[in-house]
Amino acid sequence: MGYKTIIGLEIHVELMTKTKIFCNCTNEFGGEANTHCCPVCLGLPGAIPQLNEKVLEYGIKAGIAFNCDIARKTKMDRKNYFYSDLVKGYQISQDDIPLCSNGYVEIELEEGTKKVRLDRIHIEEDTGKSVHTETGDTLLDYNRAGVPLIEIVTKPDMNSAEEARLFLEKLRATLKYIVFRKIKSHIKIY
């Protein structure tokens, strides 16, 4: 008896908006460390997040592109944990009412077309970055803190590395039309 490969993917996509998700700091890549920061993305006490309308727009567009149900009412939630690149001690993300749910991506296999179903697409903020030095310290740069992301989660519908590859290519090809920048994927093997 052999094993069946079952693959689900969780993909984070950076949105190419002008500004970060919750503040007016530039979303431009690069820049000297800690020069694209403000009270909001630094998580200073008293700062209040303000949702970027373009992030909502791109999130909805992605949902439409992948045949999702778009929520009529949605909300942001806090994911509380401690880490040095997480300025508030929580990440503003979406939990039980994601912006988009269900949906699918079609991939072409030899046998025919296969639908890889999506579980959800939601919007959230990225964290800062750490750099490790030889002297044993960690250096933290918060330029990337607050960069807008959409998270795309698939159902475990893929059965081979090849299918996963085709899926990602199709995803990328579609997303390119909706102005995205960088796509990072994490593989969850069931």
Partner: protein, 477 residues
């Protein structure tokens, strides 16, 4: 009459008439601080040098015939949980003892634009968690009327600073009574505005959907002067709304409340309270009748759960809001640590006081696992019920009356009775849960410690509570 005995609006009048200078106003208050501050401890930081520079700038403007703002020349106290650029903001805590904010809260920007002079940052319960200002890392504040008594809290420093005449105006914050209660204990006017009238951008968050910045003044006119300056929709705080809440220009001093319908919730008036408070409440109700208002008793049953609902929501929020204090980007960092975990644990354990830690732990408990639904979500549903009940009351009545507190200012170091503690919360917390506006005005008693009357208004109906407060104040002066 000394300058410090004048009301804020009187100081401004004399300044514009060139009878006194801004420097004179400021110096008389700085002298007062010299005189009494060691006995009161209302301030954590005094902004002496910058304040003197500000005063000189205003004097120059007046000399040149330039326009000056609504708060020109008036020395102001700011509760130390409100961000002030280049001036220490500590939240009454060791964990922010050396923190210097790189930005101004929106209300501070407005005060500066209106030429108010920030004289200092006032003392408070640590991170606003308390009702007596005794949990401050910087020592307790004493009630200026009686040094053995508490000034109330958590905005005790802001209240004491105005009562002791160290400043004529101050701002504080109110999440569950933290402006109204100290106003009552110190014999001042205190206003907690409608949720969304004043921007929270730059206010260190305690409970994000309950917090509001508000004002202290020695009379209604003074308090309204400040409220007018700090209100208004702010693009940096999405929870603020445009409103014609104040429309102060058209407000004439009112001496009749004919046609005003007043509701007296049985839950507020049948509760246990100090005899002196009861006596003042009875007198106050008669005063409203004399002013021509109609008074009716009503039921407000859901306030029975206000205390529990409040504690669940605020503790949950606290446990999350306090997570940013980790010693990495700002704030106290422990000297000894070997891992990231230890950096967090040691900094937070050494930096926070006990009450803060207690609430963080409780909040963590009620948010963990299935308890989040059992407690927090359920509390949010009860909140809907409370809001509904108040909407119903305000569809028939203009204002609600209650005692601000069931007791007078009590001794430092002492604990109040359970029932008084509970009733005080009962009178104050529902106002925050429903986002309503409320004002506490001193009642007429000339003997002994002050009693406060609370006038509650519907959301964005500050005009109703201010009119009622003006009329009442006129009768008890």
């Amino acid at each position: 009459m000394d300058i410090i005995d004048l009301k804020a609006w009187e100081m401004k009048e004399k300044l514009l008439n060139r009878e006194i200078s801004s420097r004179e106003i400021l110096e008389s208050h700085l002298n007062r601080v010299e005189e009494v501050e060691k006995d009161i401890n209302a301030f954590i930081t005094i902004n002496r040098e910058k304040a003197l520079l500000d005063a000189d700038i205003i004097d120059k403007k007046i000399k040149n015939g330039e326009e000056v703002g609504a708060l020109a020349g008036i020395p102001i106290g700011v509760k130390d949980n409100i961000m002030t650029k280049d001036l220490r903001t500590t939240a009454g805590s060791k964990i922010l003892e050396d923190f210097i904010s790189p930005y101004d809260a929106t209300v501070i920007k407005k005060i500066k634009e209106n030429h108010g002079i920030i004289l200092g940052k006032t003392n408070m319960d640590e991170f606003s968690m308390g009702g007596t200002t005794q949990s401050s890392y910087f020592g307790p504040t004493k009630n200026p009327l009686d040094n053995t008594k508490v000034p109330g809290g958590s905005s005790g420093g802001s209240a004491a600073a105005v009562k002791s005449k160290e400043v004529p105006l101050s701002i504080g914050s109110d999440t569950g009574g933290s402006i109204r209660q100290p106003a009552s204990y110190c014999g001042l006017v205190g206003i907690k505005p409608t949720y969304g009238l004043v921007s929270r951008y730059g206010l260190i968050a305690l409970s994000n959907t309950l917090d509001q910045i508000g004002v202290f003044g020695r009379d209604v006119q003074d308090a309204v002067l400040m409220l007018n300056v700090i209100s208004g929709k702010d693009q940096r705080d999405f929870s603020t709304m445009d409103s014609k809440a104040l429309d102060i220009e058209s407000l004439e001093k009112v001496d009749s409340l004919k046609g005003i319908k007043v509701a007296l919730p049985k839950e507020f008036f049948l509760g246990e309270m100090d005899d002196r408070v009861k006596a003042e409440m009875d007198k106050s109700i008669n005063i409203f009748k004399d002013l021509g208002a109609t008074i009716e008793e009503i039921d407000l049953p859901s306030v029975k759960y206000a205390l529990e609902t409040y504690h669940i929501i605020t503790s949950g929020d606290i446990s999350s809001n306090m997570a940013r204090f980790d010693g990495i980007r700002y704030g106290y960092r422990a000297k000894d640590y070997e891992t990231l975990d230890e950096l967090y644990i040691n900094s937070r354990t050494e930096g926070f006081g006990e009450e803060v830690k207690r609430r963080i732990l409780f909040g963590t408990y009620i948010l963990s696992g299935h308890r989040g639904k059992e407690y927090y979500d359920k509390a949010l549903k009860i909140r809907t019920k409370i809001i509904g009940e108040f909407n119903n009351v305000f569809s028939k009545y203009d204002i609600i009356l209650s005692p601000t507190s069931p007791n007078l200012a009590f001794n430092l170091g002492e604990k109040r009775s359970e029932i008084y503690s509970r009733n005080e919360a009962l009178f104050q917390m529902p106002v925050n849960l429903a986002g309503l506006c409320a004002i506490s005005v001193p009642t007429g008693n000339k003997e002994g410690l002050p009693v406060g009357l609370q006038i509650i208004g519907d959301r964005f109906k500050e005009i109703d509570i201010i009119k009622a407060a003006f009329a009442y104040e006129g009768m008890v002066k």
